[in-house]
C-alpha cells in the first residue's frame, strides 16, 4: 500500500558494534511520508542502536538516505535542519529550564536571533521571540502537554506528560522524519489514547514516523509496516497482521503469552 510513495528515510545495511559485541548487523528499512514504521524486538535486539546509527550518534556501517540524498556522512547536529529528528528511550530534558523554555530552546532556529542581530535590533529580536513563544505554547498543547505544566520543571510533571514532552521536544518546530524510542513506555489510559491520536495526526500531516515499541496494542494499532529485530538482525518484516503470525517472531519476541 505504501510502495507507491517515495521513501523519506531509507537505511541500507546498517551495522553497529560495541567492541566485540555486534549490536546491529546489516539492517535495512525505509519509511515514506505519512507512513509509520514500527520496530520491535527483544530487549537488547539493537533497536536503539539502530537509531544511534541512523542519526550518526554511534560509529556504524551502512548508509542512510534522507529524501533520496545520502546523509550517511552528515554529522548528527546537521540532520535536524534537514528534517530528521529523534527522541531517546530515556526521557531527556534541559533540567534547569521550565517546560515552556525547553520547547523554546529546541525551537531556537525560529525563536532565537543571531548575536549581532539581537544586539543591533533588540526590538525585532524581542518581537520574534514573542511570536516563537506563541508557537511553542501551541506546539506543546498539540503534543498533549497542557498549559498548567508549561511553567513547571520537566521532572515535576506526571511521567506520562513527560513522555509527551519528550516527543514534542524531539519534533521541535517541524520535522520530515521522526524517530521515537518507546514513546508508550509507562503510558496508560487517557495518556495512551492521547499518544495514539497524536501519532495518527502526525501521520496525517505527512510526517514519516519510525516507532520502537514493546507495547503491542499500541504498535499494532498505529503501524503500517513493522520490522522485527533479534540479536541485531532483521528476522521479519511486513504488515502488523503478517508479523504477528510469523512463528519466528512469536518464538523470539511475543512469546506464547501474546
Amino acid at each position: 500500500m505504501t510502495a507507491a510513495k517515495v521513501p523519506v528515510l531509507r537505511v541500507e545495511g546498517l551495522g553497529v558494534s560495541y567492541g566485540a559485541l555486534t549490536a546491529l548487523d546489516d539492517v535495512s528499512w525505509s519509511v515514506a511520508a505519512g507512513e509509520l514504521l514500527g520496530i520491535i524486538g527483544p530487549n537488547g535486539a539493537g533497536k536503539s542502536s539502530c537509531y544511534d546509527a541512523v542519526t550518526a550518534m554511534a560509529p556504524h556501517r551502512g548508509s542512510v538516505f534522507l529524501d533520496g540524498a545520502d546523509v550517511t556522512a552528515v554529522p548528527a547536529h546537521r540532520l535536524p535542519e534537514r528534517g530528521l529528528k529523534r527522541a531517546f528511550q530515556q526521557n531527556a530534558f534541559f533540567h534547569e529550564l521550565t517546560v515552556l523554555d525547553n520547547m523554546l530552546a529546541v525551537m531556537h532556529e525560529a525563536a532565537g536571533t543571531g548575536l549581532l542581530a539581537s544586539t543591533l535590533a533588540p526590538l525585532r529580536a524581542a518581537r520574534r521571540r514573542r511570536a516563537a513563544t506563541a508557537d511553542a505554547v501551541a506546539t506543546l498543547e498539540r503534543f498533549g502537554v497542557g498549559a498548567e505544566y508549561h511553567h513547571r520543571m520537566p521532572t515535576a510533571i506526571p511521567y506520562g506528560t513527560q513522555r509527551m514532552l519528550s516527543v514534542a521536544l524531539a519534533h521541535g518546530s517541524s520535522a520530515r522524519a521522526l524517530l521515537l524510542d518507546e514513546p508508550g513506555a509507562g503510558l496508560g489510559g487517557a495518556d495512551m489514547e492521547r499518544l495514539v491520536r497524536l501519532l495518527r495526526s502526525l501521520k496525517d500531516h505527512g510526517l514519516a514516523l519510525v516507532v520502537i515499541e514493546h507495547h503491542m496494542d499500541l504498535i499494532m494499532a498505529v503501524a503500517d509496516r513493522i520490522v522485527v529485530l533479534d540479536q541485531g538482525r532483521c528476522i521479519a518484516s511486513g504488515t502488523p497482521r503478517e508479523v504477528q503470525k510469523d512463528p519466528a517472531v512469536l518464538e523470539a519476541y511475543l512469546g506464547r503469552a501474546a
Binding site: 520491535i40 527483544p42 530487549n43 537488547g44 530515556q90 511521567y159 513506555a185 514493546h214 499500541l218
Partner: protein, 246 residues
C-alpha cells in the same frame, strides 16, 4: 490467600510536592504471599505511593502518615534502613549503577541475614530468572539495553532478601515475552511467602497475576478489591483496557 497478619500496613499516608498534594490514602495493607496491584492513570500518584512507603524520593516531598512492617513502625527510618529491613523498591527510571559491571550491581554491600519468611536470592537464582543477565554479566551497567536494566534492577532487589517487594512499572521497556515472564516470576516469588506491591500501567497483564487491585486517581483510592471481581469493572476498563486497543 493466606490469613496471616499483614506484613505491610500504611495508614494516613499523605504526600505533597510544594503546594499540590500528590497522595492521600486512608489505609493500605499487604499480607505475606499476596500480590497487590496498584493501577491508575499517569500522575495518579502510584510512584509517589511506593516511594513514600520506601521513604525515598528523587524530589523533595513532604510526607506524613505511618508505615508498618511486620507491625513495627518504620516511618521514621531512613530509606536505607527500610531496605535492610526488607522493604524494597525497584524504582521507575534509572535502575543501575552505570560504572559497575552487572555482577557488581548484583552483589550488594549491605549484609542481610536470612530469617523465616525471608529468602535472600543469590546471583545464580537471579541469572536463572533472567538468563540475559548472565550473558551480560561482564558488561557495565551503562552498556545495557533498557530492558536489561529493568532485569538488573529487579535482580538486585531480590538479592537484598525482600519481605515486601515494590516494583514501579517493571514492564516498562520490557519485551512482551519478558513481561509475562517477569509477571509470572512475581507469582513464583509470592508463593514463597513474599509480599509484592506491583505498580502497573499494563493492567491487562497485571490483572492475570495480582490477587487484589487498587485503582488510584489524583492520589486517592477509588476502587479496591479482588482481581477476579475487578476484571470487568468499568472504571478499570476505562483506566486502561481501552488504551491503544481499538
Amino acid at each position: 490467600m493466606s490469613p496471616a497478619a499483614p506484613v505491610l500496613e500504611a495508614t494516613g499516608l499523605r504526600v505533597a510536592y510544594g503546594g499540590n498534594t500528590a497522595l492521600d490514602l486512608e489505609a493500605l495493607s499487604l499480607r505475606p504471599g499476596e500480590v497487590l496491584g496498584v493501577v491508575g492513570a499517569n500522575g495518579a500518584g502510584k510512584s509517589t505511593l511506593v516511594n513514600a512507603i520506601a521513604g525515598w524520593s528523587r524530589g523533595a516531598p513532604r510526607v506524613s502518615g505511618a508505615v508498618r512492617l511486620d507491625g513495627r513502625d518504620v516511618s521514621t527510618l531512613p530509606p536505607h534502613q527500610r531496605a535492610r529491613a526488607g522493604l524494597l523498591l525497584v524504582p521507575e527510571g534509572k535502575l543501575v549503577f552505570g560504572q559497575m559491571s552487572v555482577d557488581e550491581n548484583l552483589t550488594m554491600p549491605a549484609r542481610i541475614e536470612a530469617s523465616p519468611g525471608r529468602h535472600i536470592y543469590d546471583r545464580e537464582e537471579v541469572f536463572g530468572l533472567f538468563p540475559r543477565l548472565r550473558e551480560r554479566r561482564g558488561h557495565l551497567g551503562s552498556q545495557l539495553s533498557g530492558g536489561e536494566r529493568q532485569m538488573l534492577g529487579i535482580g538486585r532487589a531480590l538479592m537484598l532478601g525482600p519481605r515486601v517487594l515494590m516494583l514501579d512499572e517493571p514492564s516498562i521497556g520490557l519485551a512482551p515475552r519478558l513481561v509475562s515472564a517477569v509477571l509470572s516470576t512475581m507469582r513464583t516469588l509470592a508463593s514463597s511467602g513474599l509480599a509484592i506491591l506491583l505498580v502497573e500501567q499494563n493492567v491487562r497483564a497485571a490483572i492475570e497475576v495480582v490477587d487484589r487491585l487498587v485503582l488510584l486517581e489524583r492520589g486517592r483510592v477509588v476502587v479496591e478489591g479482588p482481581a477476579a471481581e475487578m476484571r470487568d469493572d468499568p472504571r478499570i476498563a476505562e483506566a486502561y483496557l481501552g488504551g491503544g486497543a481499538d
